[in-house]
């Protein structure tokens, strides 16, 4: 009888994630989101048939980390570019990876119409309530009163209006098959986020229409917080404004167990 306990790998780097170290700031959750996408791609065996569409923002180099064919879109236009690819290659998996400035500000028209058309693509939407790459300016998702470099006294709703709840908005469209918001602030929520990303790709694979997972993410550098405080800031400040829910789940997804 063997005395050594059986060795089982329970956690490893997915093959779909390149060996390149990310350029993200310490405490930024982009790396977590990348990994979740890569894990889902691997579990669903999608690496050879997936084309990613990177956007403009901190995640502009997403293609350096997620290991599949990639294109790099102009600012805000990832859903249009993804549409062009998917229409020509309907049996491939096409996803966009966009931040809040890219998706909810300059690219709002493209995301709304891609969802309205029921475009069979998946969008990973990183909402960190700020413009990261350009150095911390106000985003469409910046909270009322939140200080940024372009709202130095805090976002004044009288002057700059209100944050946009994109997931809720897109869920009103008939073309959307799966729309959910999740958060990356603790392990429990990260696991839930992964389940949602899986469901979003399942939605696409089943041809059930547009799918998007909005992920509440940190930006410690531009929020002026340390990484732990930043995680707490998501929980205490962002979640009350951006509730974590399934906003649209195609009935056909009810059989899918992930």
């Amino acid at each position: 009888m063997g005395l050594n306990p059986p060795v089982e790998t329970v956690y490893k780097r997915p093959e779909t994630l390149t060996q390149t170290a990310t350029h993200y700031c310490p405490g930024c959750t982009h790396g977590v989101a990348h990994r979740l996408v890569a894990e889902v791609m691997e579990e669903m065996n999608l690496q050879e048939k997936t084309i990613g569409v990177a956007s403009v923002g901190c995640s502009v180099f997403a293609y350096n980390y997620i290991d599949c064919d990639f294109v790099e879109a102009a600012h805000g236009r990832a859903p249009a570019m993804a549409t062009g690819i998917k229409r020509l290659l309907p049996d491939r998996i096409v996803f966009t990876y966009q931040g809040d400035g890219d998706l909810a500000s300059i690219g709002m028209a493209e995301i709304v119409h891609a969802a309205a058309r029921g475009e069979n693509i998946t969008t990973i939407f990183i909402n960190n309530a700020i413009y990261g790459m350009t150095g911390g300016q106000m985003a469409p998702t910046t909270l009322p009163g939140q200080i940024t470099t372009s709202s130095p006294t805090g976002r004044d709703i009288e002057q700059a209006g209100f944050p946009i709840r994109t997931a809720e908005m897109l869920a009103t469209l008939d073309g959307a098959g799966y729309i959910a918001r999740r958060s990356l602030h603790d392990p429990k929520n990260i696991r839930k986020a992964k389940k949602s990303i899986r469901l979003a790709f399942e939605t696409q694979q089943r041809g059930l229409g547009f799918s998007m997972v909005e992920l509440l993410s940190t930006c410690p550098t531009n929020w002026g917080l340390n990484p732990i405080e930043a995680l707490q800031w998501i929980e205490e400040r962002m979640i009350p404004v951006y509730p974590l829910e399934d906003f649209k789940v195609s009935p056909a997804l009810s059989q899918v167990r992930v």
Partner: protein, 371 residues
């Protein structure tokens, strides 16, 4: 195939289909809408992709994505819509992928009007968005030529992995003429060695226009420039009429060139030794041919439906060696042959100071005739 009575916009659309167009993305705008409408019916019929985008901005980026898969793709628009596409055009150029674009020009600036004009010359030939690159620009002057150059546009785009623009104005888009369509080419499933299709049994591919290291970006700029030099050397096209013994040369592209031809014919019947040079590629531009002609001619007249945009290129080619005059109509006004004939007569019988600014003297003449 027999000649049929065809409308310019529809003829271009059908010519594109017969050249193996796999996908079209566009947005309605007068005077190009029939092109989109034609494809909205024909493309699904053939099992190909047609999509009406939410804007020209989206359309050009859908084309960008679709072109990244290695397919033959096209979009079309008219002046204000082309302005909106400039960002995407620059990205496509920076990514070095083939795309065909049709611009059916209208009066401007701004919302302008829907009448024929040539005010996009600069934005297409010398513009095309930010950064250093040149699109190939073909300027047909008839429905038949629009068909032929559309077919050629796809081959040129593939050959040079470049953007090819078919540049017409609203009158060519809207007019009906007898013309012959090309035979139907089957769609070739082309396995482009650069296309993104999913990394199955090969290394993954990344298509982008980002080169964050300036040294790398400079290499790309040199590569684009080298390819452009090759295009300039091999793809120059122009048409000459009555040029053998021409002492005066009229230069015009597209509709302006076509109207000028009527005037040149009339002037010839009066015994004036005038010829017409009609650039078919306005980019690359026939600088050398025009320069060569300065040895033989004693004056040139540039005719355009704008304020003298191509005029600048002619002046650069002529280099002050002979007088150059300009006649233009703007804002959607098409010049009549008689107006150009009057200019040819004037150039023939009245001396022009080589130092005169052709645009200023044209404006002065226009004010006199307007009074």
């Amino acid at each position: 195939m027999a000649k049929e009575l065809l409308k310019g916009n529809e003829a271009i659309a059908e010519a594109a289909i017969r050249s193996g167009l796999e996908a079209y993305f566009g947005y309605p705008i007068t005077p190009q809408t029939e092109l989109l409408e034609w494809l909205s019916r024909r493309m699904p019929e053939l099992g190909r992709t047609f999509l009406q985008a939410e804007s020209e901005l989206a359309a050009i980026n859908m084309v960008y994505g679709a072109a990244c898969t290695g397919a033959r793709v096209m979009t079309s628009s008219s002046s204000p819509g082309i302005s909106l596409m400039m960002e995407g055009i620059s990205y496509i150029a920076g990514t070095e992928i083939p795309v065909v674009l049709v611009d059916v020009m209208r009066g401007g600036p701004g919302l302008g009007n829907i009448a024929p004009a040539q005010g996009d010359y600069n934005q297409i030939v010398h513009g095309g968005g930010h950064g250093d690159f040149h699109p190939i620009v073909l300027a047909p002057a008839s429905v038949q030529e629009s068909i032929d150059l559309t077919v050629e546009a796809f081959d040129l785009a593939d050959k040079y992995r470049a953007i090819v623009v078919v540049l017409i104005d609203g009158s060519i888009g809207q007019m009906m003429e007898p013309a012959e369509l090309p035979p139907m080419q089957p769609i070739q499933k082309r396995n482009q060695e650069w296309a993104v299709t999913g990394a199955k049994d090969r290394e993954r591919r990344i298509l982008s226009s980002i080169y964050i290291d300036p040294e790398d970006e400079e290499v790309i700029n040199f590569r684009l420039l080298e390819r452009w030099n090759e295009i300039e050397a091999n793809e120059l096209r122009y048409k000459e009429y009555f040029m053998e013994d021409a002492e005066l040369v009229v230069i015009g592209f597209g509709t302006a060139g076509r109207v000028a031809l009527s005037a040149v014919r009339a002037a010839r019947s009066e015994g004036i030794p005038v010829g017409l040079l009609r650039p078919i590629t306005v980019s690359p531009f026939p600088y050398a041919r025009i320069k060569e002609q300065t040895e033989l001619a004693c004056g040139m007249l540039v005719v355009e439906m704008n304020s003298g945009q191509m005029l600048q290129d002619v002046l650069a080619a002529v280099g002050g060696k002979i007088p150059v005059e300009f006649y233009g109509r703007m804002g959607g006004v098409v010049p009549l042959p008689d107006e150009i004939l009057a200019e040819i007569r004037r150039l023939c019988y009245e001396p022009v100071a080589p130092s005169a600014n052709p645009r200023i003297s044209w404006m002065n003449r226009m004010n006199i005739t307007k009074n």
